[in-house]
């Protein structure tokens, strides 16, 4: 649970759930974050339907807090939420909530998320929300990093296989001999085998497919 819900404390009145709007164009990440937050019954978690402007969603749902992906260009509109919803221009109140925890906000920014409060007075328990979002964003970054690494390895292997086939054809060798040649060359030139393979293909043409 992210909050110390007063509803659980005898003698204290139940508090209405805090409405959190998750604004992330990465739908997989938005869903994961929403699922994480929904585990807390004191939160009402809403996501923005694809193609809906952030400000329209804020007007429609009137959330207490918004967790927003920093890449969203329509984030600008939050700065003017009060000014736009009222006839007279007023000082906007779209604020970051964690004024007292600079480090937490900097971490959040570092991984690309920020939080807004659209009320006059910030709710007390936003920090755990932000922490949950940070944990999830970090997990996504790591997964993306792992995926990129796996894709890189696959691409390198494809290159090496292609170069080996061309070498075998050109030099009339076995696959094992071809691989040993590339490995030796990589050691001699202090390069990765994939780099040697790429050089070989560039020097001898890319027609290595059987």
């Amino acid at each position: 649970m992210f909050t110390d819900d007063p509803a659980d404390i005898p003698g204290r009145p139940a508090r209405p759930p805090m409405t959190v709007l998750v604004a992330d164009e990465n739908t997989r990440r938005a869903r994961a974050l929403s699922d994480d937050l929904r585990a807390d019954p004191s939160l009402r978690v809403l996501s923005i339907p694809a193609g809906t402007a952030l400000i329209d969603a804020v007007r429609r749902y009137q959330p207490d807090v918004i967790l927003v992906d920093m890449g969203r260009a329509d984030r600008d509109a939050l700065d003017s939420i009060r000014a736009l919803s009222q006839p007279a221009l007023e000082r906007p109140v779209a604020l970051f909530v964690d004024r007292d925890d600079v480090e937490l906000m900097e971490t959040a920014f570092d991984i690309g998320i920020c939080s807004y409060n659209v009320l006059e007075a910030p709710p007390d328990d936003v920090k755990p929300l932000l922490r949950a979002a940070i944990a999830l964003y970090t997990r996504f970054q790591r997964t993306r990093g792992e995926l990129t690494e796996a894709q890189r390895q696959l691409a390198e292997q494809k290159l090496i296989d292609q170069a080996k086939r061309l070498f075998m054809k050109n030099e009339n060798t076995t696959e094992d001999q071809a691989y040993r040649w590339f490995r030796r060359r990589a050691m001699q030139t202090a390069q990765r085998i994939a780099a040697v393979a790429a050089d070989y293909l560039a020097a001898h043409g890319r027609d290595g497919t059987p």
């Binding site: 509109a77 003017s80 000014a83 604020l95």
Partner: protein, 311 residues
């Protein structure tokens, strides 16, 4: 220095001095390692400064002032390093201009507005690039000049400058005040017409300045020297083609993916009434005067704030 200085900017013609300084090795010449962070919106610039993700940024004065004051949640220790540009903002409207010219102040301008307004099927929806922008102040003054009340006669929306082209094409907005080269691009594409801009409302007003975080004051003089050289390059008529070409290149090739023809037009006072003028000078109090006056009138800042910032 352990890492390059991160300088935030948006895809605009008046970001040119920073782009040129990097592409032409002017930062390197002054022993500055700089990384340009092309940001999707002005909020990213302001937040980047407030939360130390950026060391410096190309920004307009109202947002710099509000960011420094912490009106967006967290005060930032900022100081203006130098001006980068004057003017260049355009006021554009969708549809057909009832006059053959930009709109004059007074009753004639009001009549033009009414005739144009009649062709819209809603209260005109006009966009500015950020609430705390010179664009909003210019739009407000322009509407005042033609007797249109901003609060009741138009609907104000906010969107990043580059998004305005699509929004005009989709009829999501009916016009707005936008920086170079997006207004010119809208006109070239037949999406809108020019009714005024910087030159009609506040000629040669300070538009973009470079602000730096207090954490990089050691590099301030060298950074300023590099930008001084870049502005010198940008001011030379013979370099306009090259600048437009540089800015039109995709970001991965060192550009800002700006529309080439419109960008070239915004550099040339013979092709647009709202050209960008590059200037690298110290920011002076007269530059702030109309801005802080309007910001006070809007209730954004008060006398204490002005004293705090000494403006």
């Amino acid at each position: 220095m352990t890492r390059p200085l991160r300088i935030g900017l948006l895809r605009l013609t008046d970001s040119a001095p920073v782009v040129i300084a990097r592409n032409h090795g002017l930062f390197a010449r002054h022993d500055i390692a700089a990384e340009i962070v092309v940001s999707p919106s002005w909020s990213n610039i302001a937040d980047g400064l407030a939360w130390k993700m950026l060391d410096a940024a190309v920004i307009f004065p109202p947002l710099a002032i509000m960011t420094a004051l912490g009106r967006r949640g967290h005060p930032a220790s900022l100081r203006p390093l130098c001006t980068l540009s004057r003017g260049g903002n355009t006021l554009i409207l969708r549809g057909t201009n009832p006059l053959a010219t930009p709109w004059p102040a007074g009753a004639q301008g009001r009549q033009a507005f009414d005739r144009w307004r009649h062709t819209m099927d809603r209260r005109p929806r006009l966009a500015v690039v950020h609430m705390y922008s010179t664009h909003l102040l210019i739009l407000r003054r322009f509407l005042g000049m033609i007797g249109v009340d901003m609060d009741s006669e138009i609907e104000l929306v906010v969107m990043p400058p580059a998004d305005m082209i699509g929004a005009l094409a989709d009829r999501a907005i009916d016009g707005g005040c936008v920086g170079p080269s997006w207004g010119t691009e809208a006109c070239l594409r037949g999406l809108g017409f020019l009714v005024g801009g910087s030159s009609t409302v506040m000629p040669s007003h300070l538009e973009k300045l470079l602000v730096i975080s207090d954490t990089i004051t050691d590099s301030a003089d060298r950074l300023k020297a590099a930008l001084h050289d870049a502005v010198f390059y940008c001011r030379a008529r013979e370099n306009r083609q090259a600048i437009a070409h540089d800015l039109a290149r995709p970001p991965e090739e060192g550009g800002l993916a700006l529309p080439a023809r419109a960008t070239l037009a915004t550099l040339d006072e013979t092709t647009t009434p709202e050209p960008v003028t590059f200037v690298a000078e110290n920011v002076t109090n007269p530059d702030y005067e109309w801005i802080t006056q309007d910001m006070s009138a809007l209730g954004w800042i008060d006398k204490n704030d002005r004293q705090t910032l000494r403006i």
